[in-house]
Subunit: 343 residues, 4 copies
C-alpha cells in the first residue's frame, strides 16, 4: 500500500518528482558508522575531489539543501550591502525567493533587466551597469547573476556566456550562475562544465541536484577561491551547515557518479523534445532544456483537466500561457498521455 | 566493503552517528510518485496532525534541516531587531551558531546569564530582565530561550520550567525551547511533551531529530499560532523551505512513529547511565540525559587514546574536563570498551 | 573677509544654499540654559503641538537631520524585511540613497515603476501591486512611496493623490510621502497640508526643511499613530535621536513660524516660473514647483560656463538635459544673469 | 523673555547644556553663500586639514550628528556580521544605543567584559579574545572598543592604552575609541592626541563635540585609511551624510579653533574636581574627567531636591549611587549651590 496516491501525470515542476534510486542507495550506505560532523567527513572530501576533476580546476564547495540558499550565499559572497546585482527580470532570485539575496547581503539591490527568451545580452548588461555606475548613488555594481538553463527553458550559448563574462570582468563584477538546471544545460549543449562556468568568467555556481534526482541537495561551487571565506561564516550562521553533512554530500556524490546527473537530465530533455513535437501545441519559447512553454486553448485546458494531467499556468508569459516541465521521472507514457489529451 | 572506515568507538557527539533504519526506510518509501512541492504534500500534512496529537493541542509546524535554523527562526519570530534574548551563557545559540540569532533577528542582542548546572533560575532571569527593562536603552526584553536537555547534560524539572514560564509571561517575553535533545529529556523525565512545553509556557519548540536518529531534520513546533506568520517568510527567504519537503517530513514522521524518538533516546540515556557508573570516572555534572561530563587524568586520557576511543575535551568546564556523548547508536560494547580503557 | 568664496550664481541644488536668518536666530535663542535631552525638551513639545495645529489632527513627530533618514525610517515602519515598496523609478529612495530603505527595512525590495512626468498613476500602481501579490514569492506588497513635489519638478493633484491613496488602502499598503520639497508643493497648490497628506491616505510624511532654509532638519510626521512604535527604536539605534534635540526642533519650529516655510517656498517657486519664461529655453517638464528641466544647446552651455553659472546635467532625462534649481536663496538677479547668458 | 525656563542647577548630563557662542557664531558665518553639498565644501576641507595637523598624521574624517552613529559606523568598518566586539560592560555601545552596533554591523555580537573603575585590562581582554577564538563558533574576534574618558569618569593611562593596543594588534583586532569625552581626557592627561590614539594602536576615534559645546557634532577620525571605504557607503545609506555638510563641519572647525575643545573640557574638569572636594560627599570612583559618582544619603537627596538641583541616580553603581556631571556650561556658582545643599 503506497503512503499516498501519486498523481498519474504531473508536469507541474521538477520538484514534484521523487528521488533517484542511486541517491537513496547512497544515503543508506552512508548511514552506518561514525564520522566527523560538520563537513570533515570522508564523503565530503571525496565529493570535493570529484568536483575538482569534473570542473578541471581547483575549487571549493559548500553543500546546501536549497537553491535559494545556494543563490543567496553565492551573491552575498561578492556583493556588499550597498551593492547592486544585475539579473534577468524573471530570475528565480528576483521572482521566487522572497528577498533571500537581500537578506543574505544585508540589503543589496537587485536590478532586474528585461531580455529576450529569458536571456540577458552583453550589451544590455553593459549599458545597465554603466548607467548605474555613472549615477553612483543607487548602488555599487557588484554582481551579475545568470541562470543556465534559463527560467524560459532556453540556454545561453558559450559565446553569449563569454561575452557576458567579459562585460563583468571589465567592470569588476563577480559572476554567479544559478544552475538549478545546470545538468539540463550541459546535457543539451554537450560542453565541458568548465567551459560553461569558470572559463567563461563564472565565479560561483549554484549546481542544482534537487530538481534532477536528489532529495534535497545543491552544491555551491566556488571557482574564485578567495570567496570561500565570505561564504563559510554565512553558511554557518544561516543555518545551512549540516551537522551530518555526509548525508548531503552522499547525495551529491551519487549524483556525480556514473554520470547520473547527465543521464537524468538527458532523459528529461528528451521528454521535453517529444512534448515540443506534439501536434497542436503552440510553443511560446524554443525548447532547449527540459521546460516547455505553450499557449493552450480553452478546449485543450479542459481536455488536460479531464485526463488528470497537471501543469501550472504561467501568466507572466501572456494570456493562456502554461508551463510543462519534464522531470527526471517523466516517462514516455506521460508524454503520450499529454499528446492524447491535446489531440 | 564500507565506503569509509568507521571509528570503532566514538563518543564525540550525537552528530557523528548515522541514521536509524526506520528513517531511511521512510525516505525510500517517500521517494516514489509526484506530490505538490514546498510543503503541501500528504506526508507533511500527516506530520502536522501527528504533532497535534502528540502535543495535545492545535499548533503549526515548520520542518528545517538544522537546529541552528530552528533556533534562529524561533527567536526571530518573537524578537524585534532591538530586542534582547535571555539565555544561559553556555547555550548553543550563544556559543555555537556564529550569530545565527543575530542574523535572523536583524541585530538583536543575546544576554548570556550564568547558571548552576547549565540551568537558569527563575529568580536570576527575573532580575536580569527587570534590570534591562529599567535601563531601557540596551535592548527591549523580548525572549527567553531555554535548552532542554541542557548543554550540561542536565534537565529542568517541570517545576523549574513552570517558574521560568511564569517569569516570562509576567514580563511579556516569548519563550523558546531549544530541544535539540528534547527526546532525551522526555525519555528521562517521563512527562507528557505538552507538560514540558506549552503548558509550562513555551511558545516555540526546536524539536530535534538529527542528533537522535534522523539524517538532517528538526521541527519547529509553534504553540502560539500567531507566530507562524513571523516564521513563514523568514523560513522561505532564509533558504529553509525545501522544495521536496516530503523528504524532510518523512524523516520526522518516522521519528514520531512507534515511539522511535523515545526508543532511541532511552537507549542513549541508558548508555549514559552506564558510563556514569564506570568506576574511576570523576563526574563533573549530574547525568540526567545522554551526555556525561568528566575530569580525566593524564593516564586515563592516554589509555583512551590507546584504545581508539574518541571524545572531545571541554575546557569551558575546567582543566582536564571532557565530554562523553552517548548517541542513539552507542552500544553496550562501546561503553564496555570505555570502561576497560578507564580501568 | 568671507570664510569661503561663494559661487556667484548657483542653480545646482537646493542644498547648495545656506540657511534662513530666522532659523539661525532660533538656534542662538535655543542655546542658553539646560533642558532635558533626547527630545523631552520644551521646544520639541511646542513643535509637536504646532504640527498638530498645522495638519489639523493628532500625530507624532520624529525630527531627523537628513531626508534619507526620514524616508528610510518611514518606509521601515510599514514594510517587513520581505516587503515590497512601490515607487517611481526616479524616486530619491531608489536613485540616491545607496540602499537606505533596504538597510532600515533589513532587506525589503523596491519596485521601481515608470511614470509620465515623474508621477505614478493609480492604475499603474494597482496593476503592479496586484501582479506582485498574485506571484506571491517576490515580496509582499507593503508600502507605496510618493514624492511631492516630484523629482521631475511636477506635482500630484489632490485627485491624483486621493486615487493613489485609495489603491493603497484597498490593498492594505501603507503610504509614505517623500516631501523633501513639500513646502514647494503646498505653496504651489495652495491646499491645506492635511488635504495633501492624511486626508488623501498618507500615513507618514517626510517633511523637508533642509532644502528650504534649514541647516539640517527634516521632520517625520506620523499620521497613523501606531507606526510610532516602529519608528522610535529604529530612530534611536539608527543614530538619529539627537541628544540635544532642541537644536533640531528649534530649526523646525522657526521654519513653521510666521509661515517661513511657505514664504521661502513661494519665493523659490516664483524664481522657477521666471526661469521657465526665459526665451530660448527648451523646457522638458512642466514647471510646477522650484525645479526646471531644460535641454540646452552647446552654445547655451558654453555661454553659461562663461558667465560662471553652475547647474547639473541630467542625463536620465535625455541628451543635453539639464536641471535648474531655484532655491530659497535664489534672487531675481540670479535669474537675470541666467537669462542674459541664455540670450 | 526666555523661550523656556532653564533649570537653575543641572548636573544630569553634558547633554542638557546648550552650545558655545563660538560655535553658534561659526554657524552664522557658514550660512551665507552657496557651496557644493554632501561634503565637498571648503569648510569640510579645512576641517580635514586641521585634524591632520592636530593628530600629526594623514587621516580621513566623517562628520556625524550623534555619538551613536559615530560608534556604530566605526565598529562596522572593522567587524563583519559574524564578528565579536569586546567592550566594557558599562560601555555606551552596550548599554545605551539600543543595538546600534548590531544594526550597523548586520548582526555582530558584543562581548561585554567586567573591569575595575570602568576600564578593561590588557590581560582580561587577551583572555577573553583567546577564549572566544579557541571556541571558534560564537563569533570571530574583530574589534576592541575602548571608552576614553570612561563611563565611570576615569581615564586610561598611556601605558594602559598601549598595552591594550598591543593585545589587539597581536590578535588582529581593530581598535575603536569612543571619545564622547575625548576632550576631557586630553585636557586631564595633557597628552598629545596622537599619543592617546593612533600611536597607541587606535584605528578609529569617535571624537565627541556635542557633550562639550557643539549643537550636534561628532567626528569620526579614521587613522587606518583603508577603513574609510567601509565607512563611506554606510554613512550615506545610514542617513548620516548631511547635504549641507558645511553646518556640521563648521561646528567642528570652531570646536578645534583656538583650543575651544580643550578650554571647555578644562573648565568642566575643574568643576568636577571642585565637586570631588565637597565635604560630606562619598566618592564612588576616582574623579579624573568631568563626571563624579557619589553615594548620597537620604538626607542629602532630600536637600538637593529642595534646592532644585538635578542629577541622575545610577543604580548600576549600587544602592544610593548618583552621577554628577560637570558640563562645559557648569559654573562655579552651580558647584557652590551643590556644596551648600550637601552641607
Amino acid at each position: 500500500m503506497p503512503w499516498y496516491t501519486a498523481r498519474v501525470t504531473d508536469f507541474r515542476s521538477d520538484n514534484t518528482h521523487g528521488a533517484s534510486p542511486e541517491i537513496l542507495d547512497a544515503l543508506a550506505r552512508a548511514a552506518s558508522g561514525n564520522v566527523t560532523s560538520y563537513g570533515s567527513d570522508p564523503i565530503t572530501e571525496r565529493l570535493r575531489e570529484r568536483c575538482r576533476d569534473l570542473f578541471e580546476c581547483d575549487l571549493e564547495i559548500f553543500p546546501v539543501v536549497t537553491g535559494t540558499a545556494a543563490n543567496a550565499l553565492a551573491i552575498a559572497s561578492m556583493t556588499p550591502p550597498w551593492g547592486a546585482v544585475f539579473c534577468h527580470e524573471d530570475a528565480h532570485i528576483q521572482r521566487d525567493e522572497l528577498g533571500a539575496p537581500e537578506f543574505f547581503t544585508n540589503g543589496a539591490k537587485l536590478i532586474p533587466l528585461a531580455g529576450h527568451l529569458g536571456k540577458l545580452t552583453a550589451s544590455d548588461v553593459a549599458s545597465a551597469v554603466d548607467a548605474l555606475a555613472r549615477e553612483g548613488r543607487a548602488g555599487v555594481p557588484s554582481c551579475l547573476s545568470l541562470t543556465q538553463a534559463t527560467e524560459a527553458g532556453t540556454l545561453y550559448s558559450l559565446d553569449e556566456l563569454r561575452a557576458l563574462g567579459e562585460v563583468a570582468r571589465s567592470r569588476k563584477l563577480g559572476v554567479h550562475m544559478d544552475g538549478a538546471r545546470f545538468a539540463n544545460a550541459v546535457a543539451s549543449l554537450g560542453c565541458a562544465p568548465a567551459d560553461l562556468t569558470w572559463r567563461a568568467g563564472v565565479d560561483v555556481l549554484s549546481f542544482g541536484a534537487t530538481k534532477n534526482g536528489a532529495l534535497a541537495a545543491e552544491l555551491l561551487v566556488i571557482f574564485r577561491r578567495d570567496l570561500a571565506a565570505q561564504i563559510a561564516p554565512r553558511w554557518h550562521r544561516g543555518g545551512h551547515r549540516l551537522s551530518k553533512m555526509r548525508f548531503l554530500s552522499a547525495q551529491l556524490e551519487a549524483y556525480l557518479t556514473d554520470d547520473l546527473w547527465l543521464r537524468n537530465a538527458r532523459q528529461a530533455n528528451a521528454r521535453a523534445q517529444e512534448i515540443a513535437r506534439i501536434e497542436g501545441l503552440e510553443l511560446l519559447r524554443p525548447v532547449e532544456a527540459n521546460v516547455v512553454f505553450v499557449r493552450l486553448t480553452a478546449a485543450q485546458i479542459e481536455a488536460l483537466g479531464g485526463a488528470g494531467i497537471e501543469l501550472y499556468d504561467w501568466p507572466i508569459f501572456g494570456e493562456g500561457a502554461y508551463r510543462i516541465v519534464a522531470g527526471f521521472g517523466t516517462g514516455e507514457d506521460d508524454v503520450k498521455a499529454l499528446a492524447r489529451a491535446i489531440a
